[in-house]
């Protein structure tokens, strides 16, 4: 069986959906040459009507996609940098997201916003290293953060087929992950259904995106002392509350590791909902970026503002002690 990388999985999902549905098209900066690699080969295969290189006009091409979607197309926009979503924030959050309700159900806006290389790319500094998935979840835009190649394929596929706007963050730190999988083994992964990557009895660790791999590594490290369950919601919004409830019902303890800023981030929501709804035997703990983090350039500083394995291990120890 062939080894499939996360990046290649995104590429394959795009190719498969372009082939399956003539309404799908891809647009973005440098997508023809495929600077991000995610669109490699697509221009050659599908031609200029399906793969559009855009000028550096994030606002206009985002709403261009909205207009095309309102007319029956299924655009996939590639954004080279997470912060480019900020430039198009009005166009996504205030236009695309709101069309369905505001028109009383007349409109649908099936646009996918794909960000390959979200979070820190190591050495790209303050304006290129954000991981703003909580912002879109707060606004109510469906938001996926796949951890593995097969989920990257499956969630991107579902995003494209979904009738609502969906943001897909592909963390830079996950893009190189590989898995031993057959093309036949790939398929859509529903939005809003989490995945238990590792079963355990003592504590549920919620992790998403590249942090799933860190959580698994820490779980393995600590395996002698504690039985850790790793729950990956896969989509930030909608969130698989039932899946989490089932996991926490088994373990009774909760740690959340999350690459968003602490304040009002994903981990805040998970801990808040757990506090309201679940019976925990000890207070939950979050491991996140600091409040309002700006990623400094120098490598050691860059790393210092991201959640790491040592912090996660300490958090697990903490919830067990209490």
């Amino acid at each position: 069986m062939p080894w499939l990388s996360y990046q290649k999985a995104l590429n394959r999902a795009l190719g498969d959906e372009l082939a399956r549905d003539p309404a799908v098209f891809v647009l973005g900066e440098d997508v023809r040459v495929a600077v991000s690699n995610v669109t490699a080969g697509l221009f050659k295969r599908f031609g200029p009507d399906r793969v559009l290189d855009t000028p550096l006009s994030e606002q206009a091409f985002t709403s261009f996609a909205t207009g095309a979607a309102l007319s029956g197309r299924r655009p996939v926009i590639e954004f080279q940098i997470p912060a480019l979503l900020y430039l198009a924030f009005e166009q996504i959050v205030n236009q695309a997201h709101k069309f369905s309700l505001m028109t009383g159900g007349q409109a649908r806006v099936p646009v996918t916003y794909l960000v390959p290389g979200s979070g820190s790319k190591t050495g790209w500094a303050g304006q290129h290293s954000d991981h703003p998935y909580a912002l879109f979840a707060h606004a109510g835009v469906k938001t996926a953060v796949p951890a593995t190649p097969e989920d990257a394929y499956g969630l991107l596929t579902s995003a494209i087929r979904d009738d609502d706007p969906v943001v897909v963050f592909a963390p830079a730190a996950a893009l190189g992950k590989r898995v031993d999988v057959d093309h036949e083994g790939l398929g859509p992964v529903p939005l809003g259904v989490g995945r238990v990557h590792r079963e355990g009895q003592d504590v549920t660790v919620v992790a998403i995106g590249h942090l799933v791999h860190d959580a698994l590594a820490v779980a393995e490290e600590l395996a002698d002392e504690v039985s850790v369950e790793v729950f990956d919601p896969r989509t930030v919004y909608p969130f698989d509350w039932d899946g989490l409830a089932a996991s926490v019902a088994r373990t009774g303890r909760l740690v959340v590791v999350d690459d968003s800023n602490r304040m009002c981030g994903l981990a805040a929501e998970v801990v808040a909902t757990a506090a309201e709804r679940f019976d925990l035997v000890s207070p939950p703990v979050r491991v996140t970026r600091p409040d309002g983090a700006v990623v400094p350039f120098a490598l050691a500083l860059d790393h210092a503002v991201q959640p790491d394995r040592a912090q996660l291990a300490a958090a697990i120890t903490k919830v067990l002690k209490q």
């Binding site: 206009a60 091409f61 261009f64 207009g67 309102l70 159900g105 007349q106 609502d164």
Partner: protein, 332 residues
């Protein structure tokens, strides 16, 4: 009463154009009354004075062409053929409204008629129209898209970006700028460096200024632009010089904001599109249309005010096109 509506006129005929400007005028006047009476909540941006633009441009369009509109959108929506009753019901937040009462004045839409919605964010709709135009071209056929916007919108980055996209990709879009001299209280000369047509021209877009008080002049310019777009000649920009007869928004009726001299308002209202177009009709035709419009608007008001309010239980219906339900906010 059937007699009154029996005679059909091409929208671009003199009678047709008059009917449209007159309908918009009377619709707006009644809507303002309904704001005063509290039947329309949140107020409106009256289109009064600018009717020739919506009428002229939409008369150049087919049913399958699309338009994107603005905060001051009733005129466009009506001119593109929306039912006045359902439009007014939308303004009054009724379940029978175009948007089932979910959108109101600033979001009125009728997708079946190619009305992709009024839009509350100035300048936002140009790029949406560009995308719709591209999609139309992909489908084959020769449908066009129109983006209406005000003079204030030409300072919005997203609109300028959209002009570039449209020109670059030769999209069948018509950019219609309604230059009424003001963005709320700010004059064009205090807001726009250079000229509006100069901005279109800078992107290589054929750009012309027309008398926006004359429905025929607008129609002529729109026809030329639409023909070019259908033939694959790309986008055009038409700047329509006009004057807003009423307030920027009905809150002005109560507030003490002063930014237009009485003299200016008086002279601005002298050239009235309803009069200009009405003068082209025989007295008989004009009276007949006036009566018909009165009947239509009366019926619209009756329909709107007689319609049920939507049930708050469904407040978040349609939040997601997929039917996904959001978690409620209440303590539950």
């Amino acid at each position: 009463m059937a007699l009154l509506t029996a005679v059909a006129h091409a929208p671009g005929s003199d009678v047709g154009l008059y009917r449209t400007v007159r309908l918009i005028r009377r619709f707006e006047e009644r809507a303002v009354e309904l704001v005063r009476s509290g039947d329309i909540v949140g107020g409106i941006h009256p289109y009064t004075g600018q009717e020739a633009i919506a009428a002229g441009v939409c008369a150049a369009l087919r049913v399958d062409d699309v338009i994107t509109s603005t905060h001051r959108g009733h005129g466009h929506v009506l001119a593109k053929g929306a039912d006045p009753g359902r439009t007014l019901a939308e303004l009054a937040g009724r379940a029978t409204g175009l948007n089932r009462g979910r959108g109101g004045s600033m979001h009125a839409a009728d997708f079946a008629l190619g009305i992709l919605g009024a839009n509350a964010i100035v300048g936002a709709n140009g790029a949406i129209a560009a995308g719709a135009a591209w999609a139309a071209r992909q489908e084959g056929g020769d449908r066009v898209a129109v983006s209406f916007f005000g003079d204030g919108a030409v300072n919005q980055g997203v609109l300028l970006e959209a002009l570039n996209l449209a020109a670059l990709w030769r999209l069948p879009v018509l950019f219609v700028c309604e230059n009424n001299g003001y963005a709320t209280t700010l004059t064009v000369s205090d807001a726009v460096a250079g000229t509006i047509t100069g901005r279109g021209a800078a992107f290589g877009i054929p750009s012309a200024t027309v008398d926006g008080m004359d429905p025929r002049a607008v129609l002529d310019a729109a026809r030329e632009a639409v023909d070019r777009a259908r033939a694959g000649g790309g986008p055009s920009l038409v700047e329509c010089l006009t004057y807003r007869f009423d307030a920027h928004h009905t809150w002005e009726h109560k507030a003490r904001v002063r930014y237009r001299a009485d003299d200016e308002v008086r002279s601005g209202r002298e050239r009235d599109p309803v009069t200009i177009q009405g003068d082209r009709l025989s007295d008989e035709d004009r009276e007949r249309v006036d009566a018909e419009v009165e009947y239509t608007v009366d019926a619209a008001v009756a329909f709107a005010l007689g319609s049920p309010h939507p049930d708050p239980v469904g407040a978040l219906d349609h939040l997601y096109a997929t039917g996904m339900r959001a978690r409620p906010g209440g303590g539950g």
